[in-house]
Amino acid sequence: MSDPMSQFTSSSPSDDGSTDETSSLKPNHLARIPLAILLVVALMGASFAATSTSDFVQHLDREVHKIHCSFVPGASEAELESPCRTVMLSPYSSWFRQDYWGGLPVSLFAIAVFAFLAYRAAHLLWRGQPLKSDGFFLTAATLLPLGMSGIFYWLAVNKVGAICKTCQGIYWTSVACFVAAVLTWVMSSGSDGKGIQRFFIGVVEGVAFVGVLTLVYLGAVPQADASAGGAKGCGTLVQPNDENGIMFPIDSHPGGASTIELLDPLCPSCRAFDVRLKTTQLRDKLDIKAVLFPLDSTCNWMVSGSMHPGACAVSEAMLCAAGAVDGKGSPAEARKILDWAFAEQESLTAMAKADEKKLRAEIETKFPAVKGCLGGHNVQNKLNKSLRWAVSNALSLLTPQVFVNGTRMCDEDTDLGLEFTLARMLEKTGAAPAGGSK
């Protein structure tokens, strides 16, 4: 490889004295091969990013949709549950979530970057051959997707705990783009002395690609309808008071907005919401208490079958552990049971479906402090009061339900739109949202 700076400073004027790059080269047609590869790979990267963005954008209608999760963009059947959904719902999939419903998807920027790389490669191919400075610029430009892929891979592994195939497609195409760009740089030759100028023009063009796509996105993103959902919520509590001592803190932040979560410890959506809530900064602004509402006909007369077998037993254990029955225990102990139930949800449900007594025995083994309380008349009575709290507030038979200062957050706002909605609900009730919002 030649002196890196020489590609910007040396010149090879043409016979007529011009510095026209097309007439001043020592062409190496082999350099077109990695350039062509770069074009193809960048288009593939753009396609992966487009698939991801398309899946993200379709959720802006506040409904649940299937997501494409495949190494071949658009080739797979869309799925309802997949690592791609986990990644999409994670806080790392988009930026500015408090400002825009769902935020700006990171994959949108990936489209812009890959489209830009494809454009540069296509232009250079069309022109005929890349100069050394072109190869250098492409290499520098591909460092951006390469670096971001490294960061997002680390986040996926260490923070999200799931890697989606579409994201892997972006990671691998980023690596391939970088390799192709380096090869282009190595195999290219010639210089026109305008390398520095062209480098900055390239930077400006790259920024323009990102800027244009961002502006298009912000200009067309669905605006939240003030008459439906959002900070206005989906109903209010008519009897929020806890006269029977059925509520207990599950995430206490003194001074935070009074928040009540109606939950079922064996409900997958409650677990997902719990995970989701832990990822938002606004969590510190909420003082959350739980009201147990097991969707299990063993104790809940409002459901015809057991949607979540064993939920009554786990709920009883939580009330026992929280000290709601006899004053012995603490909310922290109840939280431990909740975390355990969330972690072991599938196996506990299966166990209860086969034999609920076995589940009760398992709970007592795992949490000996609930012995003597679990299954007793007093805790059954307490759990019944918990269910009646939902009756007195005429709540829907759904879990989870979240009430911030008595206003119910709409179901459609509890995942992608959580930060956006929560920030506004907190503003409305006078609590300053973390990080501010528009």
């Binding site: 487009a50 209608d61 008349h377 007093n378 269910l387 005429a394 709540l395 038979l397």
Partner: protein, 238 residues
Amino acid sequence: MNHDIIGRVVTAVAGIAIPAFMVSGWLGAADARYKENVAAKLATPSAVPVAAMAEDQYCTPQLKSIVRRVAGSCGLLGEAAGGRGCQPMQAQSVAQLSSEDFNALFLPLSKRAGLIQFDPENTELDEPAKALVEKAWADQRGASFFFVVSRASTDGDAKKNEEYSAARAQAVLSHLETKFKDPDLKKEVGLLWLGEGFAQLGTEFCGWSRSRSGLVDVPCTEKEINRSAFIAWIDCAI
């Protein structure tokens, strides 16, 4: 030069325009669906069921009428009601039914009810009786009213039997208050004591859940079954 610039502009415009149109199209479609959803949501009430008290099939108008009368006019405990129950003379007017018809109303409760039995001329709950009271109370589910209908056998003085039946109903209530310390208790328990004069139980009730069902040396006679308090949560929206 021009050739290169034109090529650069063409590829650049194509490079940004294609994704821009695609993104714009996706967002437009999402916006249209969102607006449709909002309009549909505002126009159509939610189909999700709402939490409510139980309303079982046995909740006939007659049964509800009796429970309402007990709750409202002569039995539901509470500060306003002064903690009294329905007395024998009131019972028939409350029921406005024959003894047989009155008892028949409770037949659908065979799986839900319990019969708390007492010794002759005694109003104290023994241990099996306490256990059955606690079990019945804890099995509230969606019921809103706990009915205690106490009786006495026809042995002895009718006036005395009236006092026994009243004390038996009170014994059940006292035990609930002691055991559960439930603030809702006074709003949910209704007492109706019948003495020996109205709606005596037949031996067909011996097959129900009784506090002395395990005692083989105490046969379930008509007198035994009427020295009792019938307890049950009523799964009716009163």
